[in-house]
């Protein structure tokens, strides 16, 4: 599936793209059914049961025609976390310390500040001229890993280092360029960076647009033959990577490893590279295989 979760538009809404993913509400979250003829649970607060069926804010109650105070404050708190995730600055030095011992390079997009970044996605996709030198004269590598703040610096700050380490381990057989840490970056900034590094494959890790439920989700965008002008349909996306019911770093890295090997073998990425990794390969190590892959 190829998409860009930080830049959703009307068509994607209609196509029903989702950011939380199937794992956000596993079947295990459902209450047990009452056995036929068995004792039924007392429904003193039936909405307590219904709330287990969905993360939606159902059964809030009301005061007059309004939402009760507590629920109003909880909503506003969730929105505050999402707003901070969008507007907080990425502490690149701390991120680079977390990425050690992997070598790192710091760059910036052409968007000078957050307000411009939000208004001008085009600037977030190009490299600031003063960052060109940082990417010059490096030995060639097969794969470039880029980490950008995207729309959730909070998510990148908290989870990107662990994700990169997991991805680097998964890609151990390939030559990797130094990890590039980019600020005010959109997904396509990876193309500009990876093409300068001469990499055959770009692995772009970016903070996804925060929601009220999850404000620290990461996405990985894989692009074969990265160069400016690549279309979104030429990327594979692994989205919804976060600790609150999303993909774990390990799961995401295994999926990435499979896609990266396939992309390099078949010299392609995007819609032409179907994500048909056998499900068993995506499972956590140690998970019993119900059926052979």
């Amino acid at each position: 599936m190829s998409r860009r979760d930080d830049e959703r538009a009307l068509g994607e809404r209609a196509l029903g793209e989702h950011a939380l993913g199937e794992r956000a509400l596993g079947k295990g979250a459902l209450p047990e059914k009452t056995p036929t003829g068995g004792a039924r649970p007392a429904l003193a607060d039936p909405w307590a049961v219904l709330r287990t069926l969905t993360p939606a804010r159902i059964g809030l109650g009301r005061t007059g025609n309004a939402i009760p105070m507590r629920a109003v404050l909880e909503f506003q708190y969730a929105h505050a976390l999402a707003r901070d995730a969008v507007h907080d600055a990425l502490d690149t030095a701390a991120l680079c310390r977390g990425l050690a011992p992997l070598p790192t390079i710091q760059v910036a997009s052409s968007a000078p500040d957050r307000a411009t970044y939000l208004r001008r996605p085009d600037l977030g996709r190009t490299l600031a001229p003063e960052s060109h030198a940082a990417l010059a004269d490096l030995p060639p590598a097969e794969i470039a890993i880029v980490v950008a703040d995207g729309l959730s610096a909070t998510g990148v700050q908290a989870h990107a280092a662990a994700l990169v380490h997991a991805c680097a381990a998964e890609l151990a057989g390939f030559s990797l360029a130094p990890v590039v840490v980019a600020t005010q970056g959109r997904v396509a900034l990876g193309d500009a960076i990876a093409s300068r590094l001469g990499a055959a494959l770009c692995v772009m890790i970016v903070g996804e647009r925060p929601g009220l439920t999850v404000s620290d989700s990461l996405g990985i965008y894989l692009t074969f033959g990265p160069r400016p002008g690549r279309q979104d349909s030429e990327r594979n996306c692994i989205s919804n990577i976060h600790p609150n019911g999303g993909l774990t770093a390990g799961q995401a890295a295994r999926k990435l490893g499979w896609l990266a090997r396939e992309a390099l073998r078949r010299q392609i990425s995007g819609v032409a590279l179907k994500d048909d990794m056998p499900a068993a390969l995506a499972a956590e190590p140690g998970t019993p295989l119900l059926s052979p892959p």
Binding site: E7, R8, A9, L10, G11, R13, A14, L15, G16, E17, H18, A19, L20, G21, E22, A24, L25, L30, P31, K33, T34, R40, P41, L43, P46, V49, L50, R51, L53, T54, P55, A56, R57, I58, G59, L60, G61, R62, N65, A66, I67, A71, F75, A78, H79, A82, R83, A85, V86, L118, R119, R120, P121, D122, R209, P210, G211, L212, T213, S215
Partner: protein, 463 residues
């Protein structure tokens, strides 16, 4: 091609073509700035508005903002224009048209008769000369009635789409959100799900669940799974229960190609939906969503400002006699509508333009977390739109869409609007609410509906 100009304060301002003039006259929008189309200063914007006010309305029939040869939406607009309907305003300038719209002469009957004579560009142009109160006042005079199992658009009514989305399309989770909304009297426009996974099998499962609920509780409303129109055609061929056919549409042929549609496939879906004949009090069977910025986001705006392109999408919609059309105004993102002020203005523009063109116009009053907006802005917009006679609004549990990750209105917001402004649900749905013990004001009662529905959910017999 004509050039457009205006001398203001002794200074001459030239506008290279009609597209440039329209863009420069537009209310400030981040999307027009992103496209490099916005007026370079407030003074230039005013010069454009003076020039636009003096422009004869019939200019728009001759000077096309997107060429006829290049674009099937332009061809649709030109080929279906009703010159006889246009006659009463054909001698007016855009500014004169604004004054006429606000006059007593422009009553509901006159506006209804005029609609087929108006092109989207005329309507977009006049909206650029109108203050928010003008957009509200004129839209309020428009009366557009459509029907399927409910009758929408009647005077003093506000309908609602119940949007019970779930991040994993869990049918019981969706049913729980649906019950929550029904108990607030929401859902007479449609119970409509955005599927998390867009494929035929999943859409059929969701449709069958909604249809079973609707039939079991004899809910006088229509259901919809907002899957791609080509999926819906396949689903109709399979005989699954399709009430409304949904599609996102935009104002240029190329933008619609980006959505994977053209007029021919919409026509095919329209014919198939009509043939099913599932409506009881009417047969409007299409549901369209639009939004400013969608064409620019796919680079298919032909140098036309986003509000004018948006209005052209309404020409696409009206060709298929829809039950519902709504703008998703704050959804597309801050690069198109930056803050609450821009979102509110755009919501009022879209509603006005849709109504003037004869559409049953609703709105998803909404914003994303990277826009400079919050629920206070939504309070403003929903109150203004309801005052303007908006056909329907979208509501989700607690304003939080947990699948699409944005904020819309809450079910409570609908209660507030009904209480504040006296707007009632569609008559068929209103009668059902009374029968179910959910009172007219939507007070949450321990109704038979709730007890039975909850029991079914807990037992897993729903879905």
């Amino acid at each position: 091609m004509a050039t457009y100009h205006c001398t203001l304060g002794g200074e001459r301002h030239n506008f290279a073509d009609l597209r440039t003039l329209l863009a420069a006259a537009s209310a400030p929008k981040s999307g027009d700035a992103l496209a490099g189309l916005a007026a370079e200063s407030a003074k230039v914007r005013m010069a454009a508005r003076f020039a636009l006010a003096d422009l004869p309305l019939k200019t728009f029939l001759e000077d096309l903002v997107v060429p006829y040869e290049d674009d099937e939406v332009t061809r649709l607009i030109v080929d279906t224009h009703d010159r006889a309907a246009f006659a009463p305003v054909s001698s007016l300038t855009v500014g004169g048209f604004r004054d006429w719209l606000l006059s007593e002469a422009a009553d509901a009957a006159a506006l209804a008769a005029l609609a087929p004579g108006l092109t989207p560009e005329m309507v977009a142009a006049v909206s650029k000369l109108m203050r928010n109160q003008d957009l509200i006042g004129v839209a309020r005079k428009c009366r557009i009635v459509t029907a399927f199992r409910t009758t929408l658009g009647l005077d003093g009514r506000l309908a609602t789409r119940l949007q019970p989305n779930h991040p994993a399309d869990d049918t019981r989770g969706i049913a729980a959100s649906t019950l929550d909304g029904l108990l607030y009297g929401v859902g007479d426009a449609v119970i409509g799900i955005n599927p998390a996974t867009d494929n035929v099998a999943n859409a059929v499962a969701l449709m069958e669940m909604l249809d079973a609920l609707r039939q079991e509780y004899r809910i006088p409303t229509q259901t919809c799974v907002l899957t791609h129109v080509t999926n819906c055609i396949e689903i109709m061929n399979r005989g699954a229960p399709v009430d409304l056919v949904f599609q996102s549409v935009a104002g240029t042929q190329a933008a619609n190609v980006g959505f994977g549609v053209d007029l021919a496939v919409l026509r095919e879906a329209y014919d198939a939906a009509r043939a099913l004949n599932r409506g009881t009090v009417g047969h409007n069977a299409m549901y369209f969503e639009t939004g400013q910025g969608s064409a620019l986001s796919s680079g298919t705006h032909h140098g036309v400002d986003q509000q004018t392109v948006e209005t052209r999408a309404y020409a696409v919609a009206r060709a298929f006699e829809p039950l519902l059309v709504n703008t998703v105004v704050g959804f597309i993102g801050p690069e198109y509508l930056y803050d609450g002020k821009q979102i509110i203005r755009a919501g009022l523009e879209d509603h006005f333009c849709g109504k003037l063109l004869g559409l049953p116009m609703g709105c998803d009053v909404c914003y994303t977390n990277h826009a400079e907006a919050d629920q206070d802005d939504m309070d403003d917009l929903m109150t203004l739109l309801t005052t303007a006679g908006c056909t329907f609004l979208i509501a989700v549990p607690g304003s939080d869409d947990v699948m699409l990750n944005y904020q819309s209105l809450s079910f409570h917001d609908i209660l507030y609007l009904r209480s504040l402004l006296g707007v009632r649900p569609a008559p068929e749905f209103e009668a059902w609410l009374a029968e179910m013990g959910v009172t007219g004001s939507g007070a949450r009662a321990p109704a038979p509906l709730e007890a039975r529905f909850v029991r079914q959910l807990v037992d897993g017999r729903v879905a």
